[in-house]
């Protein structure tokens, strides 16, 4: 009741966040309903109509095999968004667990988790992701795992530092007197208090994780053609730019930019809304 009013108030005060939220919802709807929205079959090649410029029939033009670019970009939303969401949730789940244990129990647990995170962070993260996919094999699942692993350290750090501050609070001591065990205090008393910064981190991470998946396919790792995926589409289109067929690379690239920008704006906005200290 009162809470929802507050949200509405805050969203109206941040028009950029509101716009990002609207775009985000549209993108999600596109992803869900893509198969019913595409005017053409995104896999059907029509060599007679290859490399057509954008027109009323083909809004984004066609590619070298005559496939409709609009349909492919729309279907690509599904793939890229799916990978990003899966990777972010996986990273958040593992990272939260490790970070919470490290912050709460300290000692050897903290040292072990801390060094593990340091090792991951010592690699150039994209190179690490490439290595993981190369080693595990090209598949959608492996792209998700690679993305999750390189994202995880951020969650570990956020959650660990939040828990470190919170565990000194009076209500933790009170919970102990109420007969809560250590693990109960951690998971049912402390963790709900970490959810706000966690949500912000996830939303900021989503765009990055999406770029990551697209970059992997761009360099030829991960998703294979003919799957409609923005990274591959940009890679395929890149060779036609020089001969003047700019639309093949441009539209998937634009879609990627738009969605990543929207996630970043949403993340920044959420941080301002959730964290009252930054609110002015």
């Amino acid at each position: 009741m009162k809470r929802s009013l507050e949200w509405r108030y805050l969203l109206l005060q941040n028009p950029l966040t509101l716009a990002a939220l609207v775009v985000f919802i549209l993108v999600v709807l596109c992803a869900i309903f893509a198969p019913w929205l595409t005017p053409y079959d995104p896999f059907a090649s029509d060599t007679a109509n290859s490399l057509q410029a954008p027109s009323a029939a083909h809004w984004f033009g066609t590619d070298q095999l005559g496939r409709d670019m609009f349909s492919r970009v729309l279907m690509g939303t599904r793939m890229d968004l799916g990978i990003a969401i899966a990777a972010v949730f996986l990273a958040a789940a593992i990272g939260t667990f490790l970070g919470a244990c490290a912050g709460f129990y300290g000692g050897y647990v903290d040292t072990a988790v801390g060094r593990g995170v340091d090792i991951i962070m010592a690699f150039p993260l994209f190179v690490l992701a490439m290595a993981i996919v190369a080693a595990l094999g090209n598949s959608v699942a492996n792209v998700v795992y690679a993305s999750a692993i390189i994202n995880m350290p951020f969650y570990v750090r956020v959650v660990r530092s939040e828990i470190l501050v919170l565990k000194g609070a009076g209500f933790v001591e009170a919970a102990r007197l109420c007969g809560n065990s250590n693990s109960r205090i951690l998971w049912s008393q402390l963790l709900p208090n970490v959810s706000a910064p966690l949500v912000v981190q996830m939303s900021l991470n989503m765009g990055w994780s999406m770029l990551n998946a697209a970059s992997l396919s761009f360099v030829g790792l991960g998703i294979r053609p003919p799957s409609p995926e923005w990274g591959i589409m940009v890679a395929e289109g890149a060779q036609y730019i020089i001969s003047g067929q700019w639309w093949v690379a441009l539209f998937p690239g634009l879609a990627l930019t738009l969605v990543v920008l929207c996630f970043n704006l949403l993340g920044d906005g959420l941080r301002d809304i959730i964290d009252p200290r930054r609110r002015t």
């Binding site: 009076g170 009170a174 102990r176 007197l177 109420c178 007969g179």
Partner: protein, 332 residues
Amino acid sequence: MNRLLKIEQLTKHFPLSRPQNVLQRWAKLPHKSSHLYAVDDVSFTLDRGESLGLVGESGCGKSTLVRLVTRLLDPSSGHIIFNDRHIGDVPANEFALHPERAKIQQIFQDPTDSLNPRFTAFDCIADPLRQLAKLHGEALQTRVEKIAEQVSLPLTLLNRYPHQLSGGQKLRVGIARGIALQPALLILDEPTSALDVSVQAVILKLLDKLRRELNLSYLFVSHDLNVVRLLCDRVMVMYLGKVVETGPVEEIFQRPRHPYTKALLAAVSHYDAGGQVQRIRLQGELPSPVDPDANTCRFYGRCPIREKRCMEKMPELETSGDHRAACHLMQD
């Protein structure tokens, strides 16, 4: 027997230096261990239904003593005998499962900090009942509502979050949580220090009423002597980990014997006393509680009446009588 709690020679030393690591041991570096003497050889008793005030300034060890008694901290040595059971030997992290856990409860100093911001008032009060009394559903609901009534917390506030409550209301939630399990011993850690006087008066009356209705024993920690005087039967004054004076509350207020107690009482303002009262002022700062000299009175550096013998032999708390103090130079 009427005795609820007996504390015998309770001591808590915190080690300040970490144990040497492999490299330091290999290099045979000299290792000196120093300790912070938070609570040093404290003994006292508390009867059923009695209210004991614990008075002292910040850093005197009263918070540590409270955490020892609530069994959140393990003592270095000494005994805690509660209900004729030695509970000081149970490790703190296992005490959550001990049958006496429900019998020792606490009301915390900062009502905001001690309530989980993500729990409603109902959840805060229900937490101990869920964990230790294993109440659920309908039974839990009726119990929480009954307790809320006991502390005069309007039932409409039960589904609010702490940030939607005023300071006095938050404190009532904390008190409700403290008495939910019908404890025998309730520890009150400066409960009203964050409140305005107009609210404080209501809360003090509530606490007094609850003590009589539920036959609770209070260990009331405060730096406000005027509040202690209202609510306590006996007072214990601590200075730097040691008990320096203890006795019935009016005795202490009328005839303080230890110079520190005198200074403490002199610092309290009495606006109806008429005109300025002569005040004893303590010079200097609280000395460090790290590795203090075992033979020097802890109060020596700031004592207005110190003598040479005060740094040659540590004064011990008298062993007999109601009103006891630890000073070589007391005038009786």
